[in-house]
Subunit: 554 residues, 2 copies
């Protein structure tokens, strides 16, 4: 295998436009512009690689994610977002090859997952917040550069006789386009599959004429008409969806304390505690610390300081730290602590105010974080015991878990509450609710469970199939401990594969194909000597030697 | 990595019940019984492994495939098939672990694909030929043993206090159940996903009580009531679908000559020629050598000697030889030679006789072979030039190809014919027609193309998007040669991954999840040191040492 450089810990997934090194964000009324102008010397590992040709690493993508969030939550007046380049003749060369070639297998996989989620968030902003992303390719977009464009609602390419869109990964690097390119090409844009085959094996890609002809892009403008052309399509796109609010909320920094040993992160309403020896982590979500605001307007006024935003942003941040910085942790214990009625009061506020910008966005954001939970390659066990508040929206955490254990102890009053929050409010990537997926084999139970209304004790939850096991207080400690120890002793690769195949029941779509089918093939290829061996294409890219392949086809 | 023993060539994919070493097939009126009684000393590599506990290798599965075909085509009177064991207390322990541990990566992947196809053929026989398969687990069914049961329409387990159904691959071997187990558990049988999680990590599995409770099986009988119970469900199942014919066709041996160097296989209507140095193979399908029979009855009387059966059986056999015995071949050139009108005359015969057993089965069989083409991990280029007969059903070969090249030469009269054969007669695994998949982005073109009726020349085919490229006779040789050389020079792993992601456009279902998502994860795991390293679980299974894992989760 090629040289593996261990990536340093990712210090933070937070940033701010004032600190961006690689992107410029400007909002002018309904049109925002996101300009990629990468500082090649400011990669996360500047000694190992230089970010030439507007190529990116995780640091660039963290800024992109921040920008998407700020446009969405701070600037709801924005209706169209132009994504373009600040460098001459190049839009982006995609993920930096030397960065990939010098990363561990695990980092490569997690990096691809993060960038894929970011691109899904672009599509989510277009679909659910009416912010239409437009890729304005004012120079060549290759590999991940073109894949970023594919996540946008429409793509325009400058027609200058040289700029092209391309996916050169297969012919040049011996790997796949890893950010959804293959799937979005044929499944989203519905490019003819033989044309896609030619396109994906032609390193130089298609220039404007062929790119338009074969729907690789939606349109092209000559360089002399470029600015005017893009301004025109941006203005038109901005009229597509009505503005729901002209005032956002400030996306303020998260409050978090990290223990000296780096094993505990304590947020305002969430904590993540790692037990390195046991290879487990506990993610605890604390219920509301105060009653919800009286109405949507007050909620809006509270901004990102409101419990709802804090708790979901903190869960998301904790998951990202877990993925990148605690790679030997195999089992995540999902816990809650607090008052179920208080959780339901928050749910009630949001449900009563659906249709307002603030409530709709708050629900959509929780849904996005829950999808990140589904996509986290760790075993997830929900532990429902005394003092927990798995009610309404927080009950979704148990449905996202691979297993749930509920303490049967009437004295402790352990209950769960299933509400309309589980009836489709937070769709999985597959489009359905987690409750419907759970009862795929007995769909009538969905209605039965939703009809209960009152708090459900362990025995009833067990009978309804709402939890995996309901040990009593005598057995609880041993049963849970043994289950966790057993889980933590199993091959982590086999568990990742198993969970990926059991979690996404039902028909697949573009998103789940990207996270399931495409990513799994990429993971395989990322291990193969033809890509990452001493003479593999990824290893030797940029070197004078030609790769040498083992020609056996499997 | 663990020791890799190179598998010997697979001499033949054909067999006959008289020569079965591991299965017994008995047909008694509407009920057939397939009894697995593996001769442990008769594996394909008897020096390397012993087929203990009714565990299987490729040789066992080749017999199973033969039996499925003979029941279907020789015994259409059979309405239910009982699959059971001839050994005490064990149904089957699945694929032999020592065989897997001592096989090359490529063999493991191809072996899993073959066994997966065989299980799909069981489901196809149930769905399309009304032959209901019943798994009668008269002893423990673990791993691939239980997965074989999952391919059946219903599963019964003996309730004897010890026999169990289990999928112990994840906890014991550090790999996935590789024959569709995970997918069929949650997607076909709709077992609750947390129950599936417990089941798939519990090495000893579930005995009858829990297995019935959680839908792992459909029913159970005590040993004392076993024979009677199974006879009863078999008799009931046999009444589910009416018999369409009480007379089959003899599944006679294929005629094939192999050249001394092993590089050319010449069948009656198909040839496969391998160019090892260029890493290409040419699969040539010859059109009918005689007019079709006058009617369905005459076609039935001709039996497997009829062109239709020969040509599709020969294509299937050639594909299997290519996959297992020519693993360095990256590009397969699909050619036809013959008279288009003669092909269409065969199509007309079958279409006119839909509803008869013989015509329906002939069409279904071609469909199955075409799905094997889709699932073949080689680049497929269709070459449409002088003397070819890509008409009607044979035109599907161009639609299954990754690319198609058509010679534009009016003098040579090169044409293709698109007929209702491309309108859904041969569904892909995804359920749709290849033509609809091709025009996913412009669905109106499907009707336009189907409406043409007459022979379509290269220029028109190109304009319609029916072919990838249509070079004229001046460019043809160079253009095709360069395309093939370029393709053959690309990393074979990247090509396999790319093709898997471009071929199956649209929503995924159980079959495509097995071949796409599940298989890709398994391929990844089959490469990982945690499974196949010196201290991996698969390598050390059966040894006193415990596996040692790299705990990093990805």
């Amino acid at each position: 295998m090629g040289t593996e450089t261990k990536i340093q810990r990712v210090a933070s997934f937070e940033t701010h436009p004032d600190r961006y090194r690689h992107w410029k964000l400007s909002c002018a009324g309904p049109v925002a512009t996101l300009t990629l102008d990468i500082d090649e010397s400011k990669g996360l590992r500047p000694d190992d690689y230089v970010l030439k040709l507007n190529s990116y690493d995780l640091g660039v993508d963290i800024e992109l994610q921040d920008a998407i969030d700020r446009i969405r939550f701070e600037h709801p007046e924005v209706r169209s977002v132009v994504v373009t380049s600040g460098q001459p003749r190049i839009f982006s060369a995609g993920a930096n090859i030397k960065m990939l070639a010098s990363s561990t297998h695990g980092f490569k996989v997690n990096f691809c997952k993060y960038t894929n989620e970011t691109r899904c968030h672009i599509e989510d902003a277009t679909a659910n917040a009416g912010q239409v992303y437009l890729a304005a390719l004012n120079g060549t977009a290759s590999g991940g550069g073109y894949e970023l464009a594919l996540a946008c609602d429409a793509i325009y390419l400058v027609d200058d006789g040289s700029s092209a869109a391309s996916l050169p990964e297969v012919p040049l690097l011996g790997v796949l386009p890893g950010t959804g390119g293959l799937t979005r090409l044929v499944d989203k844009r519905k490019v003819r599959r033989d044309v896609a085959d030619v396109f994906c094996t032609k390193a130089e890609g298609f220039r404007a004429r062929d790119a338009v002809k074969y729907r690789i892009v939606d349109g092209a403008f000559a360089r002399s008409k470029w600015d005017e052309g893009i301004a025109g399509v941006a203005a038109t796109a901005a009229k597509k969806h009505p503005t729901k609010s002209d005032r956002g909320i400030a996306w303020s920094p998260l409050q978090v304390e990290t223990s000296e040993d780096g094993l505990t992160r304590t947020y305002s309403s969430v904590s993540l505690t790692v037990d390195a020896a046991a290879r487990t982590a506990t993610l605890t979500v604390r219920g509301p610390d105060a009653p919800p605001p009286a109405d949507a307007a007050s909620f809006h006024d509270q901004g990102a300081k409101a419990w709802w935003w804090r708790v979901w942003r903190e869960v998301e941040d904790a998951l990202l730290h877990l993925r990148f910085n605690h790679d030997t942790i195999g089992v995540v214990l999902l816990r809650t602590a607090g008052d179920s009625d208080a959780v339901l009061a928050w749910d009630a506020l949001l449900l009563a105010n659906r249709g307002t910008w603030i409530a709709d966005e708050a629900l959509a954001y929780a849904g996005r974080v829950l999808r990140r939970v589904d996509n986290t390659a760790r075993s997830l066990f929900a532990l429902i015991d005394a003092g927990s508040c798995f009610a309404g929206t927080l009950f979704e955490l148990t449905l996202a878990a691979d297993r749930s254990y509920m303490l049967e102890d009437d004295d402790a009053g352990v209950t769960v509450r299933v509400t309309e929050a589980s009836a489709g409010l937070y769709p999985m990537s597959t489009g359905g609710s987690r409750l419907a997926v759970r009862y795929a084999g007995e769909p009538a139970t969905v209605g039965k469970v939703l009809g209960v209304g009152e708090p459900i004790d362990a025995s009833t939850a067990n009978d309804l199939g709402l939890v995996t096991l309901a040990p009593d207080s005598i057995d609880w400690d041993d049963e849970v401990r043994i289950a966790i120890e057993e889980r933590a002793s199993i091959s982590p690769d086999a568990l990742t594969g198993m969970e990926q195949n059991l979690r996404f029941v039902g028909a697949e779509n573009c998103d789940t194909k990207i996270f399931g089918r495409l990513s799994a093939w990429q993971n395989w290829i990322f291990q193969r000597p033809n890509a990452v061996g001493d003479q593999g294409a990824l290893t030797l890219y940029g070197h004078p030697e030609r790769p040498r392949f083992d020609w056996r086809r499997t």
